[in-house]
Every structure is written in structure tokens, then in C-alpha cells.
């Protein structure tokens, strides 16, 4: 039993590692390592489109990781590295798209839809409320006479 449990735990712990592509890079410091992980998670593999380049085993992803490592070594900041990628592969490679004239709908569209929905709900609620309020008011004199007439007519037909 104990052995099975140990095997299961070992298996599970390996599963966490197995999906990450394996490279051996020696970083100058922990901050660089951290930035490398962050950048490779943020950039998308152009070939295997639903993976970030940290995750992908495609040759192009390996090349891009190598480039990022090289640029980190040269002391480039994150913005420079992301710009380098975008210059070559377009906005597509960013999992966090920049805010510009082509992407504003992407950024604000959902909030806009939510806001629109709230406005519609508010309008409907308000209209219902005012209708209900009208419902309580008394009938006017003319209306009362008409009601009486209608009721009379009904009775005479019986």
C-alpha cells in the first residue's frame, strides 16, 4: 500500500514537470531566471498556436527561447525583448496584447458589453416600476363611465 502511494505521488509530481520544454540555460542571477520564465509564458509560439513558447517543443519555440536568453544576457529590458518579437512576428505573439487602435475592442469590448447589459436592465426595471405606479392611480371620470357602460352591456346580453 505504502509503495503504491509513493509511486502515485512520484507520478503526480513528474506530471507537473513533463509538460515544460527542457532547456539548460545558466542564468547570471535569479532575477534573470524569473524574467525568462515570465517572458516565455507571455509569448506565444507562432507555429503551435495555442502554446506559449515556454511550453512548446517546436523548433521555432526553442529558437525564440534562445533569443530571449541571449537578450537577457545583453541586459535588455522586458519591453525591448517583447518589441523584438513583435517586430518580427506581429502582435500575434503576445498573450497580453498591447493597447492600440487595433486592440482597443479586445480590451474594452467585454466591459462595454457588460455596461450595455446593465443599462438595458436598468431601463427595463425602471419602466416596469413606473408602469406599476401608474396601475394604482384612480380611473378618471370618463373612464369610470365607460367601464360602467361596458359592464352594463355585458349584463344585458345574458
Amino acid at each position: 500500500m505504502k509503495r503504491w502511494l509513493a509511486a502515485a505521488i512520484l507520478g503526480l509530481s513528474l506530471a507537473g514537470v513533463a509538460h515544460a520544454a527542457i532547456d539548460t540555460y545558466q542564468f547570471a542571477n535569479d532575477a534573470d531566471r524569473e524574467r525568462f520564465h515570465q517572458l516565455t509564458k507571455e509569448l506565444r509560439c507562432p507555429k503551435c498556436q495555442n502554446q506559449d513558447i515556454a511550453d512548446s517543443n517546436a523548433p521555432i519555440a526553442a529558437d525564440l527561447r534562445r533569443e530571449i536568453f541571449r537578450m537577457l544576457g545583453e541586459g535588455k529590458d522586458n519591453q525591448q525583448i517583447v518589441d523584438f518579437m513583435v517586430d518580427r512576428y506581429g502582435d500575434f505573439v503576445r498573450y497580453k496584447p498591447a493597447l492600440n487602435s487595433r486592440t482597443w475592442l479586445l480590451w474594452f469590448g467585454p466591459a462595454g458589453l457588460l455596461l450595455g447589459g446593465l443599462v438595458v436592465i436598468a431601463v427595463i426595471v425602471r419602466r416596469r416600476r413606473s408602469q406599476r405606479a401608474e396601475g394604482v392611480t384612480e380611473l378618471s371620470e370618463a373612464e369610470r363611465q365607460r367601464l360602467a357602460q361596458l359592464l352594463d352591456k355585458d349584463q344585458t346580453h345574458d
Binding site: P46, K47, Q49, P59, I60, D63, L64, E67, V86, D87, R88, Y89, G90, D91, F92
Partner: protein
């Protein structure tokens, strides 16, 4: 209720339907290239044949196709006869042998005929990276001044050439004529 509110759901549905319908026919592997309108990147790499160092200046002068290929790329094999035919018709084609073994590349060119005016040996894929290449075959259309004017991802077959690229290439040739 006002009438326009009654029509609104239908209008929204139609709008969404149009986008989804369009989405059915989009090819997700075709990325819009960020390189269009930019100058072809600088490089200094050996030629596949002979090993003489080639630079960007060697590609200038006339509009041309720059074809990224490799012997490991199966679809390049499909594309190759089409390139041969185009070269025969007088289309100027430069090659970038991308992440390949040079001996294999030489063998390939010997066996299947060589449609390339020049062939750049990009073993590390550095030029490919600067071009935003993410696979092969990919083909760039450059003008005489070395500006990238168009990019095509995938195999160029007769239909693709006729319907998409021939016109663009001819346009560049006409443009270059004084």
C-alpha cells in the same frame, strides 16, 4: 415597446453570424506578417553552393521571390517543381536554406534541379528569425530596393501562383521599369 428593440436581437444574431461564418474560412496558421513594408534584414551568411559570403546587397536590383526551404520540409518537396517551372519562365528566385544540413541541401539541389539564383545558408535560423519565419516553406516577395512587399506561408502551387502571386510579382516588375 418600440419596434427597433424588437429587431435588435435579430440584428445582433446576424452580426455574430457574419463573423462566425467568416471565421469558418480563415486559416489560423496564416499570420499577418509584421515584416510587410519593412526592408529585408541585413545578414552575412555563406552561400549553400561555394560558401561565398552573401549579404543583403546581393538580393537587390530586381524584384524577386525569396523562398525559405529545407530538406527536412516535406511540403518543400511538393513546392520544388513549381519553383523550377517559375524559374524557367524567368521569375527571379532566391533561396534561404533554413536550419538545414548543407550536404543534404546540395544533394537536393543536384537531384531536383536548382531554381535559385542564390541560396543563403541559414543553418542557425538567425536570418529566418529576423524575417519572422516560423516554418517552411515561406516565400517573401521583395522589390528591387529590398523592401518586403508580400509574404506567402505554405506551398506555392500553380493555383496560388496564378491567383495570388503572379499579379503581385508582375506589379513589382512593372514598377521597377523606368
Amino acid at each position: 415597446m418600440k419596434r427597433w428593440i424588437m429587431v435588435l436581437p435579430l440584428a445582433l444574431f446576424l452580426l455574430v453570424a457574419v463573423f462566425l461564418y467568416r471565421g469558418l474560412y480563415l486559416n489560423p496558421s496564416e499570420l499577418p506578417s509584421a515584416m510587410i513594408g519593412k526592408p529585408f534584414p541585413e545578414f552575412a551568411l555563406p552561400a549553400v553552393q561555394g560558401g561565398k559570403t552573401l549579404t543583403r546587397a546581393d538580393l537587390l536590383g530586381k524584384p524577386a521571390l525569396v523562398n525559405v526551404w529545407g530538406t527536412w520540409c516535406i511540403s518543400c518537396r511538393v513546392e520544388h517543381p513549381v519553383l523550377n517551372k517559375l524559374a524557367e519562365q524567368g521569375v527571379l528566385i532566391y533561396g534561404i536554406n533554413y536550419k538545414d544540413d548543407n550536404a543534404a541541401a546540395l544533394k537536393w539541389l543536384g537531384e531536383f534541379h536548382n531554381p535559385y539564383q542564390l541560396n543563403v545558408r541559414d543553418e542557425q535560423g538567425t536570418l529566418g528569425l529576423n524575417l519572422g519565419v516560423y516554418g517552411a516553406p515561406e516565400t517573401f516577395l521583395i522589390d528591387g530596393k529590398g523592401v518586403i512587399r508580400h509574404k506567402f506561408v505554405g506551398v506555392i502551387d500553380e493555383t496560388v501562383w496564378r491567383e495570388q502571386l503572379a499579379g503581385l510579382y508582375q506589379g513589382l516588375v512593372d514598377e521597377a521599369r523606368p
